[in-house]
């Protein structure tokens, strides 16, 4: 029971961590809460589902389709809804409202075109278990853990070693100075959104398999925001730790206390943590910009 809960918790936590990393990546460079991220995750799940079920693409192909699709949607989102604001140096409030508008737009566009039906992935993918020393663990959970960590490690490697990665890190540290040193900001931000979108595609796919695919599934990114805040906004290791912590704690609360208090627990955890550590576990202390 304990190990089983732990593995489920790690799987959920891994998906939370993926989303929180994508969210933090955008935050670290543009300093605003990208509320449209949930809708990109939802669209990623739809792309995965339809390419698997309607176009007969194999599972791995569907995952790749969802990654590429979500990445380009995320880039498109930046180019249409944020780039003008960025050029005007607007305050983060305007970015947030614009992001919300995007999220309302996309969610309802899906309602209006595809409909509010819930789509479930075929059971073959979701119901397989592996038994290990008396505990049975869902194959999907194992996959989610492995995939999440591989994706996060790949992102880390990319950020540490590639030229673009170095540019991203420089820009997130100080956008103006990095621009003076020859970093193409528009291109770098484009990369950030592509990467965040790719993570959204993976997490959307796993969320869709674990639960279902429906227009408002993006609300689950609320948890990613919480995870990112727990870890400290804009900090990638913080997002990973926050996501895992939240996933494991939540699963234990719903297994040992009740699944009803799970959400209240997460939100109270958020508020309490903010009071003790106003910038999260790994956050730098940032004064509001004057």
């Amino acid at each position: 029971m304990f190990i089983q809960t732990l593995v489920t918790g790690l799987a959920i936590g891994g998906i939370y961590a993926l989303m929180a990393v994508g969210y933090s990546l955008v935050f670290s460079i543009l300093n605003f809460s990208n509320f449209a991220y949930g809708s990109i995750i939802m669209l990623g799940a739809y792309i995965g589902y339809f390419s698997l079920m309607k176009m007969g693409v194999p599972v791995y192909g569907a995952i790749i389709a969802s990654i590429i699709g979500a990445a380009f949607l995320c880039l498109l989102n930046e180019r249409l809804a944020y780039s003008t604001l960025r050029k005007r140096n607007a305050s983060s409030l305007y970015f947030m409202i614009s992001a919300m508008g995007t999220s309302i737009f996309l969610e309802n566009l899906v309602y209006a075109t595809i409909g509010s039906r819930f789509y479930a992935f075929p059971e073959v993918l979701t119901q397989q278990n592996i038994s290990f020393g008396g505990v049975s663990i869902g194959l999907l959970d194992v996959f989610a853990i492995v995939f999440s960590f591989t994706a996060i490690y790949a992102l880390h490697y990319f950020l540490q070693n590639s030229r673009t990665g170095i540019a991203i890190r420089a820009a997130s540290y100080d956008m103006q100075v990095s621009q003076l040193n020859g970093v193409n900001i528009s291109k770098t931000i484009g990369w950030v959104f592509l990467l965040a979108g790719a993570l959204a595609g993976i997490s959307g796919m796993f969320l869709g398999m674990k639960y279902m695919v429906y227009p408002t599934m993006g609300w689950i990114t609320n948890k990613a925001y919480i995870a990112a805040v727990i870890g400290g906004l804009g900090s990638l290791p913080g997002a990973v730790v926050g996501g895992l912590l939240l996933g494991v704690l939540e699963t234990f609360v719903s297994a040992y206390v009740s699944s009803v208090v799970r959400d209240v627990f997460s939100f109270s955890l958020l508020v309490i943590l903010l009071l003790v550590l106003p910038t999260g576990l790994f956050g730098k202390f940032l004064e509001e910009k004057v």
């Binding site: 409202i97 614009s98 508008g101 209006a112 805040v229 959400d263 508020v271 903010l274 910038t279 004057v290």
Partner: protein, 286 residues
């Protein structure tokens, strides 16, 4: 048809009441709340539980709902504002608060969970709503023009400088938060006694977004701007009801478009006053 128009006006004005309070908070302190649906819900539930289960007088129930929202506003505001959370952290904390309240409402016995409360007495009339709206706008205007309001504007413009001038940042922020919680609670009470049925699903983050969006679209730092925006955001979707789902698509699109093309909001920092109307007529006459 007349009944339908009255209904749309009543709904719009109820949203106006909540929006005016939020305009004072967000527009005049620069903090961004994503949890005001929770205050709306607290007001609605407190008032309805009192009038439904205990046969309390409508106005007393409204007052109780308002007071309850103010109390909760103070309880949530005290620690978060004392900790001087940065704007994003504050926004996410209020988002969390809003969701937590909704989950609680879904699981308490007295609120009858997700089934909601049916058969709340229908007490809210157009007259009551109109009078309340005028009263709330008047109070908000006086608040903004008072010493406290000017302190709040100073905080919004540059809170470091304001603090150096001896303005108590925390006091200004909590005062406007409690005021906005009160108007949201009042609006909630009126709403519940107008539709006669409430359930937790009505008070989601979507409602909070709509309120905040009205404030930003109407122009931060204006009272009349958000009032007009709130009416537009309720009345236009109502008029477009034939288009069903597409109206919300248009609504989301509109929000992005306003941010991109008119970031200062529809009215910017301007207030609409009687003088504007007078000038309008003078122009027409000349």
């Amino acid at each position: 048809m007349a009944e339908y128009i009255t209904g749309v006006i009543t709904f719009s004005l109820i949203y106006v009441i909540a929006t005016v309070g939020l305009a004072v908070f967000t527009g005049f302190t620069g903090l961004f709340s994503l949890g005001h649906a929770a205050f709306f819900a607290i007001g609605a539930y407190t008032a309805s539980i009192l009038s439904y289960f205990y046969d309390v007088n409508f106005y007393l129930a409204l007052a109780a709902g308002t007071a309850m929202a103010a109390l909760v506003g103070a309880i949530i505001g005290y620690p978060t504002l004392k900790a001087k959370l940065r704007s994003d952290y504050f926004a996410i904390a209020t988002l969390g608060f809003g969701e937590a309240v909704r989950v609680l409402l879904e699981n308490l016995d007295i609120t009858q969970g997700a089934r909601g409360l049916p058969g709340i007495p229908n007490e809210t009339t157009l007259t009551v709503v109109v009078v309340t709206t005028i009263l709330v706008i008047w109070i908000a205007r006086n608040f903004v023009n008072s010493r406290y309001g000017r302190a709040a504007i100073a905080v919004r413009e540059d809170f470091v400088a304001a603090e150096m001038m001896g303005i108590n940042l925390f006091q200004v922020r909590i005062r406007s938060l409690v005021f906005s919680a009160m108007t949201a609670g009042l609006a909630g009470g009126l709403f519940a006694h107008y539709v006669c049925f409430i359930q937790p699903g009505m008070f989601t983050a979507y409602l909070s977004t709509q309120l905040t969006a009205s404030v930003v679209a109407g122009g931060m730092g204006s009272i009349t701007g958000p009032v007009v925006a709130a009416v537009l955001f309720v009345a236009i979707p109502e008029a477009l009801r034939v288009a069903s789902m597409w109206r919300l698509v248009a609504y989301g699109f509109l929000l992005v478009a306003i941010m991109i093309f008119r970031p200062q909001g529809l009215f910017g920092f301007k207030e609409i006053s009687w003088n504007d109307f007078r000038r309008l007529f003078k122009k027409g006459g000349a």
